[in-house]
Amino acid sequence: MSTPAALVRPATHTDAETPATKAEAKNLSFYYGGFQALKNISMILHEKKVTALIGPSGCGKSTFLRCFNRMHDLYPGNRYEGEIRFHPDDTNLLGRDVDPIEVRMRISMVFQKPNPFPKSIFENVAYGLRVRGLRSRRAIEENVEQALRRAALWDEAKDRLQDLAFNLSGGQQQRLCIARALATDPEILLFDEPTSALDPIATTSIEELIHNLKDKVTILIVTHNMQQAARVSDYTAYMYLGELVEFGVTDEIFIKPRKKETEDYITGRFG
């Protein structure tokens, strides 16, 4: 008689294993003027894990991402409802009394199209440090080197730190932007479709990088490439038309999602 094995189901966490919560969106809605782009979203961002946001164009995933670092505040006519609680201090990131600049000091972002400043490689990475008042040349150099190492760009860049950032290839520029975001030791790192402007090889190197950052930084990544979400993330959230349809462990979502809408999107039955 064979020993009764547990049902072979992709593991969900027991309570003891659930990772800590880094941030939690609670009934978050967002309005561009009169248009409601996000509808009552509640979701947990687990600490030091990678969470992916997937969904068709216009579903609100980038909008949701940008709430975390208050990027919407830069443009007039935007309104938040609900909250995003940020731990460990349990502040509401969207609170009116919370300074967006302070939020951005703790939460960094990497954008879709690599956007290095027209400055040298060194100055690009150093800028975040300068904004935070770091003056000592030695300290800045050390931090820059560390950030470039974490972004797997040190070897390629160490001999040309004073070169213009624009002379790097697309994939290198994006890694530079990641280094720039990492230099300030952010508590959450936001990625907005970081590889959609890159070729497959550069894409893979960025995915490797994200994989290496896992367990060290909390990451929230928006991607329209489902396979990328499957490869890179621990948790996946599927969004559609401004709503959160399903959230779960990535392995489960991609092998046996709970909702039919999720399954339809993942298998290309959409439409």
Binding site: M71, E102, F111, N115, P118, Y127, F166, R180, T184
Partner: protein, 307 residues
């Protein structure tokens, strides 16, 4: 079945190409009219005045004797006035533009201000002269001085500087600003560390083009009372005695190149006409040089920027 179709296509293309050629010829003619006019003007001035271009011409004061007349006071006056213009117009213009572009709330009031600024660029320069006469010369009591002239011309080119700065800042893509803000920069830090440095080619170009226009402005300068016959220079800004730097020159009477030219052209003697031509040559040369500088600076500064 191929042959007939190909032939039809070919004749169709030939017909269209005739229009192509026709426009090319027409465009060339138009261009030539402008170019030839300028070239002939310039050549006439050169021919007329080249003989007069010697060291004395540049270092002599005006004189009743044509052969001894020079443009010293004129070109020194122009230079000093330009310095004042630049020093006043650039900070005022850039700061206004930065405020309008980055800080001002986007409402109807800001829209009105924007429209008016663009319109100001089209106001006839003599109107500025009248304004300056009433405001600077009499109201503020600055008199008929380099300072008044500089302020007047600064006002004149202010719209140009503002528009150039705004255009240059608008050319900076959104994702660069977002990149700066996303790192936790304040608005001023973003402007100081990113927006101004990256728009400096555009700003500089605008300033220099504005000044190239200002250097040739005659009407407002006459209105506020530049002298046409000056046989002395304004006091030197630097001296060997303390306090080493003086601002007396700002309040000094003066003249500028266009006025000197105007003065000479209104004299009947033919010799003065050559003087005027020579001065005109120098003025055009100065203007072209400034534009050339603008182009070169733009090229140099834009090399680092690839949006």
């Amino acid at each position: 079945m191929e042959h007939p179709d190909v032939a039809a296509i070919r004749s169709l293309i030939a017909r269209h190409k005739r229009w192509d050629t026709a426009f090319a010829v027409f465009g060339l003619l138009c261009l030539m009219i402008g170019v030839l006019t300028f070239v002939s003007l310039f050549t006439e001035m050169a021919v007329n005045g080249a003989a007069r271009l010697d060291w004395d011409f540049f270092t002599n004061y005006p004189s009743r004797r044509a052969s001894q007349a020079g443009i010293l006071s004129a070109w020194v006056g122009s230079t000093l006035v330009m310095v004042v213009t630049a020093v006043v117009a650039v900070p005022l213009g850039v700061a206004s533009a930065v405020y309008l572009e980055e800080y001002a709330p986007k409402n109807w009031m800001t829209d009105i201000i924007e429209i008016n600024i663009t319109n100001l660029a089209g106001v006839p320069s003599i109107v500025y002269g009248l304004l300056a006469l009433g405001l600077f010369v009499y109201q503020f009591g600055l008199g008929q001085s380099i300072l008044s002239a500089g302020l007047t011309l600064a006002l004149l080119i202010l719209p140009v500087v503002i528009v150039a700065t705004r255009e240059a800042m608008r050319a900076i893509p959104r994702h660069i600003r977002e990149g700066a803000y996303a790192l936790g920069a304040t608005q001023w830090q973003t402007v100081r560390d990113h927006l101004l440095p990256y728009s400096s080619p555009g700003i500089l170009t605008g300033v220099i083009i504005g000044m190239a226009r200002a250097i040739g402005e005659t009407a407002p300068i006459i209105t506020i009372g530049a002298l046409t016959f000056i046989a002395f220079l304004p006091p030197s800004p630097v001296s060997f005695d303390p306090p080493y730097l003086s601002f007396e020159w700002l309040m000094s009477p003066f003249t500028v190149m266009p006025i000197q030219m105007f003065n000479w052209t209104s004299r009947p003697e033919a010799a003065f006409q050559s003087n005027a031509a020579a001065a005109g040559f120098v003025l055009v040369f100065m203007t072209l040089a400034m534009n050339g500088l603008a182009i070169w600076l733009r090229y140099r500064l834009r090399k680092n920027i690839k949006w």
